[in-house]
Symmetry: C2
Subunit: 483 residues, 2 copies
């Protein structure tokens, strides 16, 4: 339905929330956003004015009204994840990056030579990310051309914006899972670029992305050939940088002529304005300066960095220095496909940076990210990282309607008004099992709008994601929602 669905001119009526700067959320309690048949926002009204009802051509528009507690929010942007690894979500034990790769990751990825298996995993994972409100996702696939193309097809069919990359790796990878030669790595990557462009010529939904796994699993000539391919095909590029100290030492050994991990990519012409660098935890000042000079972007993956004990990315420092940062789930180094969980994890990581020596306690340092700042990274920041800052990430006239409808449930019932407790009743007043199951957010009714947003961020999950749109098309909704 998503790809072929006809869009009716629609007015989204109710509260909406979005970032208007790094530090500031706009919370409009009674808005109306008009979206045309192309999925483009044509007007935004505030304060319940309903002037749109007089607007020519809008009188008979479909109205999606958000009643009850909740708000429209921009779709989340996941700037780094590995779709084939999702069956390993939650499996990492006490490993760190390099043993995690050989223990968990390479065997699973290699098994996606089976297309039915790839189909099962990819349809599940795209379903999961959509149901968590992710409207755009930068995916690593595997080495396999057919499975990578399948992921592109699934994203297009489901209507989720995606960058889909075939993984290149011609070195230091297991025999059973590596590119046979630089020529074949480039040819296979080219095949995936061409396929993705054949099914979505304008790239409105699915775009290709050149994907050298990371420096340790590519030779220098392979990296250079991929840099040339990206330039020739005007493609996006994604890779990992400076995730783990052992990995950094390995890169220094493998590329003795390079000044730094970042320099390995720069030498191969892989640092461009269209480059997404995942992790970027332990960068030197010189590396950060190079990345900024090239206009490359950073995907901060806090859940993964904590789970694999990779380190705490100093996001405040990156932002202060003018780097562009979004959030990535990095499944399955990360343990959750939810960007809302990454918002929380980014906040926790920033607190650990603020605490410095873990035994030193609370320094109320400037490293702390606020709720508003983390939500910016999840939306506007992510849009900058994936090259969509002009079209998604916030609500403005001319932008496209990539959005989620957040609902917070019915609220906690009043219970026994006089404080009497019926000791023999199984439900002693209070909260019904149906409400408990429908949301993890308890709303009492006296909360301010700002507090409702905070409750969603810290207690919310996919149960609060009632419906999701991309370019005005409905791409997911909860079963109980009627639109």
């Amino acid at each position: 339905m998503a790809a072929s669905q006809t869009i009716a001119k629609t007015v989204y009526a109710g509260a909406f929330v979005h970032s208007i700067s790094l530090t500031e959320l706009e919370i409009c309690e009674n808005g109306a956003i008009g979206v045309d048949e192309a999925g483009v926002i044509q007007f935004i009204e505030r304060n319940g004015s309903e002037e749109w009802k007089e607007k020519e051509g809008w009188q008979s528009a479909k109205v999606v009204r958000l009643d009850g507690k909740g708000f429209f929010f921009p779709g989340f942007i996941d700037t780094h994840t590995h779709a084939p690894q999702h069956p390993n979500t939650g499996l990492f034990g006490k490993t760190t990056l390099l043993d995690w790769l050989s223990t968990y990751t390479f065997p699973l990825e290699a098994s996606l030579s089976s297309l039915p298996k790839a189909h099962r995993i990819y349809t599940n994972f795209v379903s999961r990310t959509l149901s968590n409100g992710t409207t755009t996702c930068a995916y690593y696939a595997t080495r396999h051309v057919p499975a990578t193309n399948l992921l592109s097809s699934i994203c297009l069919a489901r209507g989720q914006r995606a960058l889909v990359g075939r993984v290149c790796m011609d070195s230091l990878s297991p025999e059973y899972y590596r590119d046979a030669s630089i020529d074949s790595a480039v040819a296979d990557s080219r095949a995936c670029v061409e396929y993705t462009r054949s099914i979505d010529p304008t790239g409105a939904i699915v775009r290709p992305i050149i994907t050298p796994r990371f420096a340790p699993s590519c030779t220098a000539p392979c990296l250079a050939a991929l840099g040339a391919l990206a330039r020739e095909t005007h493609s996006y590029i994604q890779t990992h940088v400076s995730e783990n100290t052992s990995e950094i030492q390995l890169v220094a050994q493998l590329f003795p002529e390079s000044k730094s991990y970042t320099d390995v990519y720069d030498t191969a012409n892989l640092l461009t304005e269209k480059t997404i660098l995942a992790h970027a935890i332990h960068l030197s000042k010189q590396e950060r300066d190079t990345i900024r000079a090239r206009g490359a972007k950073i995907s901060h993956c806090p859940a993964s960095n904590t789970a694999l004990t990779s380190g705490c990315c100093r996001v405040r420092q990156l932002l202060d220095e003018g780097l562009t940062v979004g959030l990535g789930t990095d499944v399955s180094g990360g343990f959750s496909p939810s960007i809302l969980e990454q918002v929380r994890q980014a906040i926790w990581t920033s607190r650990f940076v603020a605490m410095g020596d873990p035994s030193a306690g609370a320094a109320d340092g400037k490293a702390k990210l606020s709720t508003a700042e983390a939500l910016f990274l999840a939306t506007r920041g992510g849009a900058q990282v994936v090259g969509l800052a002009d079209s998604v990430g916030g609500f403005e006239v001319g932008k496209e309607w990539d959005a989620q409808m957040v609902t917070l449930g019915e609220g906690v019932a009043d219970g026994a008004g006089e404080g009497q407790v019926d000791v023999d009743a199984f439900e002693v007043g209070g909260t019904s099992t149906a409400l408990l199951e429908s949301t993890n957010v308890d709303v009492f009714g006296w909360e301010s709008s700002e507090e409702l947003v905070e409750k969603w961020v810290y207690s919310g999950d996919d149960r609060n994601c009632a419906a999701v749109w991309v370019r005005g098309r409905l791409v997911h909704k909860r079963n109980d929602v009627v639109l």
Copy 2:
């Protein structure tokens, strides 16, 4: 129903998982646990032997069979939380402990002078903790005798084991929310002890706990009077210690004659084998030695400590030194009523301790808690902390059936077996919305039992908690579950 419910002799058949030591989980894939009419485990069979079917008196027992993916697991034990603060769950902004108390906490707690409001909040919170698998909970209530007694009544009615404490605070608290005198603080606390013992004389479900808020909000004579009351009434004691560096400085100013924060409590005879100390982040070696010598216990509250930037508790060090540690949600300093979330947060905190300087990266240090260790803290460790190690926390003959039934959903469907994608279908094979909504855990069918436990720990939530029993009584179940 819970309190008056008659228990049938019941055999719980299916997989079960529990801690058998700090580092080791037992995973029994085909077990049978027989629970008698008193809620006591009479036998445990492994390997699907079904010898119990020949056992006299058990042939006609009720059978609760766990089909599909899942397992019985001990009920969680929350060793520290604040029931009246639940409406503030998720609200903390960038505050740290002392400004958080005055901004968010005191005004809300004071408002529970209204018994209907207390009823609404407490019934909701007990519902929430039960639905998250918490079978025992150490609650702070408020200063108010009627509301505190109401919480005891609700726990008894719902069948949740609880320690319920009236909060004492005669100093440095706002005028609108403090004890008028030491005499009234003691008299009110005594009234709550007596009430709780009147409704549950054996203390099988609800027990009183003497609760000086924390040293900064109590005078030394008040602390001493509460120590005496605890001794006289053979009560448990709970308080906070060494949560935040500013708090520690404040204690040093307020109690200049004391050797340390811990010494303030020791001087007041508040450190006993029945004492629960929440947080315990920044303790000196001498303080830890004192706590161990007195046999007092520690409640580790990782979510709260991170949210309020209090610091990273070095749990490995506490365990290595022989201290007893459980987990606490510490709502609403903590942002979740779920002990499963605390299991994850304890693991993240241990990783930050392992990483040391956040920029220094992965030292695969011994500070890291394993999944098994964190689950131990959530069950056996918690049972030791609340004085129930002989009766709950694991599955053995003679222990009581405090348990949760964990279910992991139907598993991800095979989808289009040939890898064909129907581009025009809204559901492109893969995962149904119903399955997505029913669980956050994706099971593919090839996982080992150990991996299923890991997936539950890192992706699970209350949706996976199908049913909960305390002393053999059903105290919560999901609406879709038929037992």
